[in-house]
Symmetry: C2
Subunit: 503 residues, 2 copies
Amino acid sequence: MARSPRREPAPLIQQRPEWRNLRHPFAPQSLFSEDRIVALHDMALKLLEDLGLKVLLDEARDVYSAGGAKVVDEMVFIGRDLVEAAIASAPARIPLGALSADRDLVLDNGALIFGAGAGCPNATDLVAGRRPGDLSTFRAALKLQQSFDVIHTLSPSAEPQDVPVQMRHYEMMRGQIELCDKFPFIYGRGRGQVTECFEMLQLALGISNDEFLEAPRCGTVINTNSPRQIDRPMAQAVIDFARAGQLCIITPFCLAGAMAPVTVAGALVLQHAEALGALVLSQLSRPGAPCAIGGFGSNVDMKSGAPAFGTPEHVQMSIGTGQLARHVGLPWRGAAGAASNTTDMQAAGETHMSIWGNLMANAGMVKHAAGWLEGGLTFGFEKFINDIEGLQTIAALCTPPDISDDAMGWGALEQVDPGGHFFGADQTIERFETAFYQPFVADLNNFGSWSDAGATPSDARATGIWQQVLTEFTAPDGAAERAARIDQWIADHKQAGGMNILE
Amino acid sequence: MARSPRREPAPLIQQRPEWRNLRHPFAPQSLFSEDRIVALHDMALKLLEDLGLKVLLDEARDVYSAGGAKVVDEMVFIGRDLVEAAIASAPARIPLGALSADRDLVLDNGALIFGAGAGCPNATDLVAGRRPGDLSTFRAALKLQQSFDVIHTLSPSAEPQDVPVQMRHYEMMRGQIELCDKFPFIYGRGRGQVTECFEMLQLALGISNDEFLEAPRCGTVINTNSPRQIDRPMAQAVIDFARAGQLCIITPFCLAGAMAPVTVAGALVLQHAEALGALVLSQLSRPGAPCAIGGFGSNVDMKSGAPAFGTPEHVQMSIGTGQLARHVGLPWRGAAGAASNTTDMQAAGETHMSIWGNLMANAGMVKHAAGWLEGGLTFGFEKFINDIEGLQTIAALCTPPDISDDAMGWGALEQVDPGGHFFGADQTIERFETAFYQPFVADLNNFGSWSDAGATPSDARATGIWQQVLTEFTAPDGAAERAARIDQWIADHKQAGGMNILE
């Protein structure tokens, strides 16, 4: 009997260039007939026209008004002609320029772009426990995001709350530039900070403002204050990102039963209306501005009012959002999520279910795809590592298996006797190194071996993995040079007192 | 501000008649072009014709030979005309008569039938730990299977190894009849035991042998000894179940890289060939016999040779199997699975990924959908409960949400001011009781409440759930009467010494 070949342990970080640009492997699914999608869209238009949006920023109301919307006090009523014009001018395909060209992306319907959990006030791991996010955690999370090819865009996973708010954007931008080369994220916390972030990015990239305006080199997410309200910093960001030609992802926060109607259908109407209403502001600010719609739709638990994720309603909201986005022909973002408070089967189940909902919906960008716990209140390091295993599994599915005559392998089938095995077959020897996805968290040893080695569950195994990834981390080529170009600028601006938010 | 409505805690067991017969909510996906599926099918036919199957049972070789296959020693070479005739005579739609009529099922392409983890030599829970399966565990697992509407067919989750093998089939049949009313399972462990099981079932149901022969009232699974071998009890079961008109699910055990070629394409060829080869035996035994094909295809870990589940290759095997089954127009079974040794995120991730693979593939019957650990070596009670949450989520997705004008809810949208909330909206009050799937394992409390209540993870929460389900369990209507009809028969047969396997 031939000796079976043995493969070395999988490297923790698999360099897979084909995972850097994924396309959806499954056809988009539908929940609703086309005529009902038209009905949803029509009711969203009626909502914008008859009920209107409350827009808290004067400048934004002026933009709406100048564009032809009716403004009464803080209320803005948007005619369907304006919405249709915005849909027509918004791009269906958005190139996203990363810090390094080999991380460039395209956001369109069909793209599959993953981002890590974002915006968490807390972080947790099995070593240091749960604590408020700080700069060290923020930077560690960036290193993890940078290390895995299936994470495509950068996210502020944990908020660096130990940095004063007027200095925080410097550290967040410096961290991304110094440690990463993927598509960066900027918070829309007022024109002052946003403008400074744009300036840092131009310096780091060594490009002029005119070059910067040509195509997105960074993105933000703006959340409406559902229902039907856009607050000041969010409206400001829509305008400023549009005028700078940078990506603005409009994300109503429509949890059915709380900030949105208790029905999936009603929540979709509201979410779609708010997204289109903000899209109008973007397109009036600069026609053709790169703007994605979408949502974060799930439901709340009617017992506690708490957000729920990975529920049937979450999956349904995702699929409905996808249908509406394709109806208007715009790229869109969805969201995975987990409500669990710890790294348990609930957490894994919620994230898997919601990720698959996004796959069924063909979300162009899937936010919060790794590391989320507590409905986004905490970024979990072990959760991140375990989620990466799932994302890598999906990424591997984006490449169909070899179905050539050679892969079908008549020779191997002939070679092995009935009841035998293929460990030693020529085809196995030739292909075993790359035949299968190599898990890096999953432990496939039998119970005895696993027990003898300490009976470690997958969250505790992940601790060793993220620690090793951080220990071995090196910044990507070019990052040091990019960072060097902004260091003095940041020092000067810190010296001058920084920039307050909402300025 | 209106008070938000509060919902009572979800009942552990949700009675949802609409979950008893599910249809796939998503369209079947394809990995391979139709011409390559034809090529796979053709190579499978060539394999049966040129390489043949080793069939260890004399009687089975006689059936093949009488039907026109070439038999040389233990090898059987099956011409494509025989395969095509078998495909033509096998039913595309198989009604499955349960112990109670309101649990009846139909297996066809489009059906979505879930079964719990089956065939595990061990069981584990957080109270008693991991131990060899015994009768008490076998019966407890049946109670759990009976309690949840998303489990449609019965499985021998844990093997009752404390019962002597010649008596074991009595206890396994008695447990199903006494505790359950769903579609029962019988092991193919020789003609003697199978015939006795058929007899017990007829007695319990109060039907004649002629009535029994009309349509399936029970089913079995036969595994080929891949590659290309059918052992004696398995071949016997194919013949006996066919002649009795009972469901035989032919399941090659083709793990790519071990019992099958290292490629998905090659493993699919072998699996398809073995399934069709056994199908021929079934159809030669009785044309039109209810027989499902399918597989259990995944890959092995090339480091350890251990089975892996929830991998990209597992999903690909599922989708390819579905394409081949639809190509020949036959219903089929797939399998979920988890390799993890414990109730961790790996376990949940593997099961979710493989369940979704089966959804993408539109498997008519998904075996091992709840409770599997260690690649099937252990049935886990807490794993079962957590998996049920996932299956119920999928079951809820099988009913599309209400998209009527009323559900879209213009009234609610009008009623709530910008920045307000929908907790008190009339539509919410009217619908909140049934608006959302109610999780029964997931804890949606915030971190503080969850911590104050003991910081219990989802596996430990599941302990309380399965304990309560078992404590509150009552057998379904009619079960006591059915059991009473076989008690004396079993006592007499035990008295007579039972029935050895392989007789």
